[in-house]
């Protein structure tokens, strides 16, 4: 289930100074605990905007419970 490669890629772009990053979550039906932690870390390190695309409602709700929704832009 856990596949955080794409988050790691995003991390690389953050480190490289990327300020506008879009993550497409439209094929992610559910996030697990490591993914949630990775996203929290990503949000903490990014200096610019990270947009999440195609987030389904259960995932959005999980992010809401983790107080992460305010740290991403949902498109």
């Amino acid at each position: 289930m856990t596949n955080i490669t794409w988050i790691e890629e995003a991390e690389e772009r953050v480190k490289a100074g990327g300020t506008e990053i879009v993550l497409d979550l439209s094929s992610v039906p559910r996030i697990d605990a490591p993914m949630a932690q990775a996203m929290e870390g990503l949000a903490g390190r990014a200096s610019g905007t990270i947009a999440l695309k195609g987030v389904n409602v259960p995932v959005y709700k999980a992010l809401k419970l983790l107080k992460l929704t305010e740290r991403f832009l949902f498109i």
Binding site: R30, A33, K61, A62, L66
Partner: protein
């Protein structure tokens, strides 16, 4: 960070915060799981728990030195297998229960992170039980075990966590505080990310949980009284009690503490206990035990005794008992401080009390119940259902166990069908919020999805209605042993009573009761009841206008149900289906036949009756379908001689009924058809009947119209016009019809405007009063292009009709001074507001609006312009 500053070292706080973070993440992730995911995981952990039941029991014994290995293993199995049996087929994700007939659906919402305290007495079984509940409900658990049992709990948690994660549960779904301390618990109880505290622990932990301000589940202390009543099956009772009290050395808080035995069986019972391995203590031994195992200061158990074997306790106390002794039985002479062993004893010491009577036994059980065991558990052994009922009534206990062991019985699912648990809610008596056996539903936020339902409606009318000329002849078919004709002196003089007499079957004994021609007062009704009793009447024929028929309805009510309290029956109500007062079902069979001599009230078919409350200067409306006459006769020959003024007043009353029923929130297609028909007939025939009283067709049609309008408002009710007319009419002694007429144009305009406050009504899909007025205008051919125009024309046509009938144009025209009216205003407004009539009005009248309407009627008709307010344009019918 927690809300409360803590004295814990920084590293400890970081450690606890880390556990909380793991739990909150797991809980958030868990919300995405389906029922199938959850059920798969639950099954896996149940099997893991079952497999390790004995291992965990051994760990618990080694660490706590309490209880019995075999019993602890059994508890672990109950905590897994029995709890699983309860939860496995229950839904806990999404829709969990449906009540289609009520339009209700219950849905589950997980709680989040739950901080759970577990006890030293049942450590691993409580962990297993809670893990299953949490997984089933998609919650995460952070355990704070008892400091003397944390290692075995940690191992139980590890086993459950591994099994759960292996089958897909989120990492961190169960965590455990290692080497826990009370400050740790306090810190976690106040942590902002802990959503619920589930405190299965001692009174201190439970109190701390409830004091934290967090939603909490708690348990209470027990002091289980057992009443062994003389009809009980003694062999079963003795074995059950022995089994229960010695189970895990008495550590289950629901276990038996004091056995209250009927005198007749006392000696036999003790003999049976002794035969099965109990030691019956002497008075001296009891005193020694009391001093040794109970702290005289706190009246609490000494820890050294909790969960220990009977022989070990005896040995420590210096008592000589047989080596195979299972239980120490200590005779008691009372309950309270002077009787140390009358408290909770979580070890195999059982007190016994000899009761000389059932009453004494129940009193002692109440004393025990109130001596530290409120809300917990009580047990009775009896075959006398009445005594079981008395005992259950007397005990304040969440679990009242009948003819079975207290401890295992209270756990649920083994000896009875209670919900299996390891956490006993003890209600407010035990300082808890529930008396339930705590179960999976306590770990859920249950959302109720409530769909709009329509209130049941009806169309109830008298059994028989006879109409047209000579309808009175139908009286012939009603045989009677004794008939009383209720009427008024004028009608008797006019010979109308003779018409009725002639129509009754020959030889019917008849007595005529002539009452004043005025709205009935209580005294008049009571005199009528006296007459009915004197005649032993089985039939009442009410001949007259609304007042006479109303009087007859109430006479019938009081005659058939002498206990009926009219004041109480007139109590206000919002919805007739849910009213607080129920009308009595009469014990005297009596038929009521109503023959109306006016064409307005329709009282011959309605379930209403108006009574004058002279003392308070107000009209009281009684309303119940039991008041509806059994037979109505609508015969125009009884109205041919109606004076013109009365024709006008009653005719407008009929119109008001139809107009108000038409826009009522209780209107239905059934009532609409009657209301619309009556409006059309009234506009057409009332002027003719008024101007040409001998016009029999007009008289007949108006007589029918009044009855038809009444059929409508009997089922749809009336509105604010009637509420105002009742209040104003009673205050100034104005006839009902005239009072209605004076209010009518103003109320039409008021209802047609956009309401300042809507009336809640599940049966109305939109505000339609204006549209229905427009339909009425169309029906009587008033023309108009828009809804507003049509409503304007309806108001104007109503005013024109009133003018044509010679109705005063204002209240002022009645000779009532402005000062007098102003002075009466507060009382009128209060009485109008108290009147039930307006509760079916489409627009909810505010108190100040009632006053405005009265003032508007005072000033006169031409002020009743709809254009002053906004009239809705759209037709939403």
């Amino acid at each position: 960070m927690p809300d409360k500053v803590s004295s814990l070292p920084g590293e400890r706080i970081a450690y606890l915060d880390g556990l909380v973070r793991q739990g909150t993440t797991a809980a958030a992730v868990f919300t995405q799981f389906t029922q199938e995911d959850v059920d798969r995981i639950v099954k896996a952990v149940v099997l893991a728990g079952l497999e390790q039941a004995q291992y965990l029991a051994r760990l618990a014994i080694e660490e706590t030195r309490l209880g019995v290995l075999e019993d602890k293993a059994l508890k672990n199995m109950v905590a897994t297998e029995f709890v699983y049996d309860y939860v496995r087929n229950r839904r806990s994700v999404g829709v969990i229960r449906e009540f289609p007939e009520r339009g209700l659906v219950e849905m589950a919402e997980p709680i989040g992170l739950i901080f759970s305290i577990t006890p030293v007495t049942n450590p691993t079984s409580t962990v297993l039980f809670k893990c299953i509940m949490a997984l089933k409900t998609r919650n995460a658990l952070l355990f704070g075990p008892h400091p003397k049992a944390w290692r075995c709990c940690r191992e139980a948690i590890r086993i459950m966590h591994e099994a759960a994660v292996r089958h897909g549960a989120p990492e961190g779904v169960f965590t455990c505080v290692e080497a826990p301390t009370i400050p740790d618990n306090v810190y976690l109880m106040h942590h902002k990310d802990v959503r619920l505290i589930d405190a299965t622990g001692g009174p201190g932990a439970v109190k701390a949980a409830y004091s934290s301000g967090k939603p909490s589940l708690g348990v209470g202390a027990g002091n289980t009284p057992v009443y062994l009543e003389k009809t009980a099956q003694l062999d079963m009772a003795v074995v059950d009690i022995l089994t229960s009290k010695t189970f895990d050395n008495g550590t289950i808080c629901a276990s038996e503490q004091t056995l209250v035995i009927d005198d007749e069986i006392y000696d036999a019972v003790l003999e049976k206990f002794a035969d099965l391995g109990a030691h019956i203590c002497t008075e001296r031994e009891t005193a020694v035990l009391g001093q040794m195992v109970i702290d005289p200061g706190t009246r609490a158990m000494r820890p050294m005794a909790i969960g220990q074997k009977a022989t070990d306790i005896a040995s420590v106390c210096g008592l000589k008992v047989a080596p195979d002794t299972k239980l120490l039985i200590t005779p008691l002479r009372g309950v309270g401080r002077e009787h140390p062993l009358s408290v909770e004893k979580l070890f195999p010491v059982l007190s016994v009390y000899r009761a000389k009577s059932v009453e004494e036994a129940l009193r002692v059980c109440v004393d025990l119940n109130h001596s530290g065991g409120l809300g917990h558990t009580a047990v009775i052994f009896s075959r006398n259902e009445e005594i079981i009922g008395q005992f259950s009534e007397a005990m304040n206990a969440g679990r009242i166990i009948v003819n079975s062991p207290g401890s295992i019985g209270a756990l649920g699912g083994v000896y009875n069908d209670m919900v299996p648990t390891f956490s006993f809610g003890c209600g407010t008596g035990g300082g808890n919020s529930t008396t339930d056996n705590v179960n999976m539903y306590h770990y859920l936020n249950i959302k109720r999805v409530a769909r709009r339902t329509q209130a049941h409606m009806w169309f109830r009318i008298p059994n028989q209605i006879y109409f047209n000329r000579n309808a009175v002849e139908n009286l012939r078919q009603f045989s009677s042993r004794s008939t009383v004709i209720v009427t008024n002196p004028q009608l008797e003089q006019m010979g109308l009573v003779d018409l009725v007499r002639r129509a009754l079957p020959p030889q019917t004994p008849v007595r005529v009761l002539a009452i004043p021609d005025a709205e009935p007062e209580v005294q008049v009704v009571l005199q009528g009841v006296e007459a009915l009793n004197l005649q032993q009447a089985d039939q009442i024929v009410a001949l007259g206008g609304g007042s006479v028929i109303d009087a007859a309805k109430i006479m019938k009510l009081k005659y058939a149900s002498p206990e009926a309290d009219l004041e109480e029956l007139a109590a206000p109500f919002l919805d007739i289906r849910k009213r607080a007062i129920q009308y009595p079902v009469g014990s005297v069979p009596v038929r009521l036949i109503a023959i109306s001599t006016t064409s307005g009230t329709g009282s011959e078919v309605t379930p209403f009756a108006v009574l004058i409350d002279k003392e308070r200067g107000r009209k009281v409306t009684l309303a119940d379908y039991s008041l509806t006459p059994d037979v109505a006769i609508v015969d125009p020959q009884f109205v041919m001689s109606m004076p013109r003024g009365l024709t006008a007043d009653t005719g407008i009353d009929c119109l008001t009924h139809a107009l108000e029923a038409g826009v009522s929130i209780h209107a239905s297609p059934f009532t609409d058809s009657n209301a619309m028909q009556a409006i059309q007939m009234t506009f057409q025939y009332l002027p003719e009947a008024y101007e040409d009283p001998r016009n029999e067709e007009a008289r007949s049609m108006m007589h029918n119209a009044a009855c038809i309008a009444a059929l409508a408002f009997s089922n749809a009710s009336v509105g604010v016009n009637h509420a105002l007319a009742h209040a104003f009419g009673a205050k100034f002694r104005i006839s009902h019809g005239k009072a209605n007429a004076l209010m009518l144009p103003h109320v039409l305009a008021y209802n047609a405007a956009v309401p300042s406050k809507f009336m809640p009504s599940p049966n109305q899909r939109a505000y339609v009063a204006h549209s229905k007025y427009a339909m009425m205008a169309d029906l009587i051919g008033l023309g108009g292009a828009t809804v507003a125009e049509k409503v304007e024309r309806l108001v104007a046509a109503t005013e024109a009709l009133l003018d044509r009938l010679g109705i005063p144009r204002s209240i002022a025209e009645l000779g009532i001074s402005e000062e007098e009216f102003e002075q009466a205003m507060p009382e009128m407004v209060k009485n109008a507001y108290d009147d039930p009539s307006w509760r079916s009005n489409p627009r909810m009248p505010l108190v100040n609006e009632l006053a405005e309407l009265l003032w508007s009627a005072y000033r006169g008709r031409r002020t009743a312009r709809v254009s002053g307010d906004t009239v809705w344009e759209e037709a939403n019918v």
